[in-house]
Amino acid sequence: MLRSHYWQGLLLLGQGLLTSELASAVEFSLTGYGSLVAGKVLSGDADGGTELLKCPCYISDWGIGAAYTGTEISLKQESRLGAQLQIKINEDWSAYIQAVARAYDEVIKLDWAYLSYQISPSLSLQVGRKRIPIFYYSEFQDVGYAYYWVRPPNELYGWDLTNYNGASLRYRTSLGDYTVSATLYAGSSQLNSSPYWKINHEEPIDSRWRDLYGADWELSDGTWTSRLVYLQSMNQYNFDGQGWGDYDFNVGETTKQKVFGWANNWEWPQFLILSEVNATKIQSKDIDLLSPSFTLGFGYRTGLWTILPNYAQYADFYRKPEGEEGARYDDRSLTVRYEITEKSDIKAQYTYSDDLSDTLYLGDTQHFSLSYDFIF
């Protein structure tokens, strides 16, 4: 959600630039992406789940609360279409707008809307609404064509908030055969009636991350890319309109969140190694929780085919409350990708999700999905 005066400021700035003498040099570029995804739970534990989520089930997108339930084939959970308009106002200024329509909630949302200013050839400032760059695939998580799975592993890519309003400063340079980039960003994020919480709660829960600060540092030689990330925020949740409180809904309290991540990917012509290890720390009045997760995949490419077996795991470790049992699960997946055209692919992915929690949460699940991804 974007505050109205924020929007007004951006629009006024954009209007001023567009009506300037340089307006005649404005260039427009429309691009986009989409995914048509069909999925089906093959089998799983019926003992898992909640009152609101009947299992066997498979949660494919925590951010929008999308889950496959039952054993019917469905195209609703993950199919989406995105379009981006880039307005190059002049050599230094550009504006970006990106809207995404999802089959799941049948709403077109403005996910990205920001102004970009090139301070120097190596340094750029962006102000507006963007995707939170939490982990390696976070910013382009909706662009199915951009990665090798049907979806990035849910053990790492499951958040209640995905976009923020704020500013980011990005520096990029070359050092011999290496390119180095570093980003600092700050802002806030809020979502009312968060779909993430609807998986487990019938009552509406609003989420907000304030004092959101983050940084990432990336080094690449074209084949190997290494990316370190850090994020911190002060989080609050409003349970059924009772007032903002912490993770346990203690009104007036706040939850401190820290996120660390390190991705290392190697993409050779024939082989891939995709790895990422992350940890999230949550601290509030009654909770001290550390949630590490990791993913590791080894891919083989031959011609237009890519085969990628992958393993990912997520676990909760509570220091407070003492003795609290956390969720723990892993995914073993096998994805086969075929590039149909230069701008589209189809993927088939089998996933076995193993619920390793002390107390059964969602239960074990076997899931199969087919996707058609494209860019334009």
Partner: protein
Amino acid sequence: MKLIKTFALAIAFLPHIAHAKMIVITHPDNKLEPTLEQIRQLYLGKTKSLDGKMVLDPIDVPPGSPLRGKYLEQVVQKTQEQLNLYWSRLVFTGKASPPRKLTAQETVVDWVAQNKGALAIIDSQDLNPKVNQVFTFSD
């Protein structure tokens, strides 16, 4: 006899055709001397400048160009599919834009001659005094 003459003419022109090379051109005021690695980084959006001051604007080698295969092999070192996947991670996150695509009405040499930061890859046969040749690719 006519066939022999035609064949002889063709043989005479072969050295000229064989020597046509892929080259990089810039605006005449640009005194760049880029390396192959620098050209690669420009065309992959990894850098926008070679001197930290002038923002450079690389022009795409269009898909229908006879140079496209050599461009993919020697400059970006990716197949077309790999290149599209590479750009899809950058374009939709605002981190970089692919090389500029000219319209059918715009010629590469004229564009480079009129735009100081422009940089393009052409066949050496298309070179003319309006632009600078700053790099020559090996065969």
